[in-house]
């Protein structure tokens, strides 16, 4: 092989190697972008699924506002036993969802019935707290239940 042919061949091989590297880099970028896109699509679809089918999903606007008020009324000082209270709020959510679905009346009536459901659920929560966590926690839960009732009634008045 002539010296200039050898140089050409070497140059050709270098070009090929560079082209292969470029193609591999491009392929890597495409795969990364695809995974990122799939992750984002998954997040959006899971958000929708949790919103629609989750434990407090399919909530009406009134219901969401009422439960939100119950959640925000409780201060850290009333949260002495977070597990019991979370369970109590979950049962409130479930009761309120059932009540809201059953009631096919005006917005004010729905809110008021939700408030009474909340009171019942809060009382149940207090009873549970009294049986498991002692008198102090029971008193706290009762206060919390009273606060949530007040908030819900205020919402219905407004």
């Amino acid at each position: 092989m002539e010296p200039h042919e050898e140089a050409q061949s070497k140059q050709h091989r270098a070009h090929d190697a560079a082209r292969v590297l470029r193609a591999r880099r491009r392929r890597t970028q495409v795969l990364r972008r695809r995974v990122a896109a799939i992750a984002l699509i998954l997040l959006a679809s899971m958000w929708g699924t949790v919103f629609a089918l989750g434990s407090m999903g399919a909530a009406t606007t009134t219901l969401a506002t009422t439960v939100a008020d119950v959640r925000t009324t409780e201060t850290p000082s009333t949260r002495t036993n977070s597990t019991l209270q979370r369970n109590a709020v979950s049962s409130k959510r479930a009761t309120a969802t059932t009540a809201a679905a059953a009631e096919n009346t005006t917005t004010t009536t729905t809110t008021t019935s939700t408030a009474s459901s909340d009171t019942a659920a809060a009382s149940a929560g207090s009873a549970a707290s009294a049986s498991t966590a002692g008198t102090d926690t029971a008193a706290t839960s009762t206060q919390s239940g009273a606060a949530s009732t007040t908030t819900a009634v205020t919402t219905s008045q407004s």
Binding site: A39, W47, L53, T72, S82, T83
Partner: protein, 195 residues
């Protein structure tokens, strides 16, 4: 958009966290599955592509885990501190599943990112460390089933089973294959499962 915002109210962070947790589980399962397939050389000739997918899935998993935890900071009911979300057993909420989730998160972060320090650690040692990612993933599955707000619901269990079962089969198959690859004494370290 306004209707959605009004309907979700203050639950937007709570829903986001749960959705991100589910996404993290799906991505982690896929990542572990791909990793085990690579280690077991189940798809010959697809090594470089699988490596890129495995890496991208792992990073996406870590991002989803970060979103899962950080979104909780905005939840007005739970209102946890950063310590509650980062230190196992710091919070009293649904223990021990909360702690298992935190340990799983840290495990996936450390064992996953150890890839970038493999030259410093040494390839054989890194392979031993990296296989514990599967254990962290398993802790994440237990956290999901034990603590998930929708854990008893059919749609949730269907999603979890769909993503976890194939990966679990791959992990078990990989572990079952392990004894057949007995290496000579001294060469076994780091060439065991998932390597």
């Amino acid at each position: 958009m306004t209707i959605l915002a009004t309907a979700t109210g203050s639950h937007v962070f709570w829903i986001t966290s749960r959705a991100a947790g589910l996404v993290a589980l799906i991505l982690a399962s896929a990542s572990v599955g791909v990793g085990v397939s690579m280690g077991g050389r189940m798809f010959r000739g697809r090594g470089p592509e699988l490596k890129v997918i495995h890496e991208a899935l792992s990073i996406a998993t870590l991002a989803a885990i970060a979103l899962h935890a950080l979104a909780l900071l905005g939840d007005s009911y739970f209102h946890p501190t950063l310590a509650d979300l980062a230190i196992p057993f710091a919070s009293t909420y649904r223990e021990p599943y909360m702690a298992l989730g935190i340990i799983a998160g840290w495990g996936l972060l450390l064992f996953g990112l150890s890839f970038y320090a493999r030259k410093r650690i040494g390839l054989a040692r890194w392979k031993v460390i990296h296989r514990f990612t599967a254990l962290a993933w398993l802790l994440g599955v237990i956290h999901t089933l034990g603590e998930g707000s929708d854990a008893g619901r059919t749609w949730f269990l269907v999603i979890v089973a769909t993503v976890v079962a194939p990966t679990l089969v791959l992990v078990i198959a990989r572990l079952a294959r392990r004894p057949r690859h007995k290496l000579p004494a001294g060469g076994a370290a780091g060439r065991t499962a998932f390597s």
